[in-house]
């Protein structure tokens, strides 16, 4: 099983993408399946570190939390854009010491932080595991540290570690 | 009646997307630095992709979806190449 299909999730995702792009018919299923298997074999030749999913049932919960948070910060940033120029607003960098070590988890965290309007991932030091983010509306620095750590990092650590 | 509302909303949305592309183009020309310009180029690609999607809704034909997907893919590749270039002065290390 692992020999024939080294990355089952990747193969299934490629097959689904193929069938969404063409049509849901048996012929396309066979053609897409062949291409997906060949592509995942090619991926195995590159030998990336294999991500492990410990608790995949938490992923829908994470996706829901992230979608709602992005919606909320969309409204917040839209308000900042529309406010008068005279209002004082401070933006700045926040350094966050992380406990998450898994590379896939860090990549997901980077996507979450950057695609949320109002926060942007700037730099991450691998040796000290400290993350530098930029926050558009910086009021409480410690608040952002606890927000990222309690809201996303703990859930990601449960999923990936 | 609802068809007329949809038509006008689509027109308004397309006007807003074109205005957004105009804002990005202004920032693209004004700079002041290279990273601002690359950021705006990426945003223009995304706005153009959304514009093609609204054109597809207006025409009622799913063929525009593929054009939008190609714009998104090309925009991503070119922005990543430009960002890499800003970082090191080379695209492929």
């Amino acid at each position: 099983m692992t020999r024939a299909l080294p990355y089952p999730i990747l193969t299934a995702a490629l097959l689904l993408t193929w069938m969404l792009l063409t049509s849901f018919s048996p012929g396309q299923f066979i053609l897409g399946g062949l291409i997906a298997v060949a592509a995942s074999r090619a991926m195995a030749a590159l030998q990336p570190s294999k991500p492990r999913l410990r608790q995949w049932q938490l992923i829908p919960r994470l996706a829901g939390i992230v979608a709602l948070d992005i919606l909320r910060s969309n409204i917040a940033v839209a308000r900042i854009v529309l406010q008068r120029r005279g209002r004082k607003r401070k933006s700045g960098f926040v350094a966050i010491p992380l406990d998450l070590r898994d590379r896939t988890g860090l990549a997901v965290l980077a996507c979450i932080v950057t695609s949320t309007p109002g926060t942007a991932w700037v730099e991450h030091a691998q040796d000290s595991n400290i993350l530098l983010i930029h926050v558009l509306d910086l009021v409480d620095e410690q608040g952002w540290v606890t927000l990222i750590k309690s809201r996303y990092e703990s859930l990601l650590m449960e999923i990936f570690e | 009646m609802t068809a007329i509302i949809l038509l006008w909303c689509l027109t308004a949305a397309q006007a807003m997307l074109v205005a957004a592309m105009g804002c990005y183009t202004f920032r693209l020309i004004r700079g002041p630095r290279a990273q601002d310009r690359v950021l705006c180029l990426d945003a223009i690609y995304v706005s153009a992709m959304l514009l093609v999607l609204t054109v597809g809704i207006r025409a009622g034909s799913p063929i525009y979806f593929e054009a939008a997907l190609i714009i998104a893919v090309l925009g991503f590749a070119s922005s990543v190449a430009l960002a890499k270039f800003l970082m090191r002065g080379e695209v492929i290390e």
């Binding site: 969404l20 940033v77 854009v81 933006s91 960098f93 350094a95 996507c111 950057t114 695609s115 949320t116 309007p117 109002g118 942007a120 700037v122 730099e123 030091a125 040796d127 000290s128 595991n129 400290i130 530098l132 930029h134 | 609802t2 068809a3 509302i5 949809l6 038509l7 689509l10 308004a12 949305a13 807003m16 997307l17 205005a19 957004a20 592309m21 105009g22 804002c23 990005y24 290279a34 990273q35 601002d36 950021l39 990426d42 945003a43 995304v46 706005s47 992709m49 959304l50 999607l53 009622g60 799913p62 979806f65 939008a68 997907l69 893919v73 922005s79 960002a83 890499k84 800003l86 970082m87």
Partner: protein
Amino acid sequence: MTYAGALPAWAALLTAFLVLVGAGLTLLGAIGTLRFGSFFERVHAPTLGTSWGTGAIVLASIVCFSALGSRPVANELLIGVFITLTTPVTLMLLARAALYRDRAERKPGVPARSILRPPRGRDQQGESGGGQ
């Protein structure tokens, strides 16, 4: 726009609303890039258009074509997934490039590299952890 009469009223209104929301968010993000003062503030503005701006227009397209063909159409979801996965990559690369360039030119207001060093007391632990 010959087909619009065939669209049920709820679908037409929902499509119109979602399209307006998406385009409005994209426009607000574009205005943000004009108004914000520094590059690191401007990085936040286009994410309005790439998160729920794209999401709303993709949803509108799905609603419209599903109601039109009276079967669920999901290929627009591919665009949504693709944009949510790729935009952070571009923005992250750009932010790191900007930081690198600003540090090389010694611009003020940019945090130094030393902010990422481990705090005192955890020095040894940090070095043995991943010091290659």
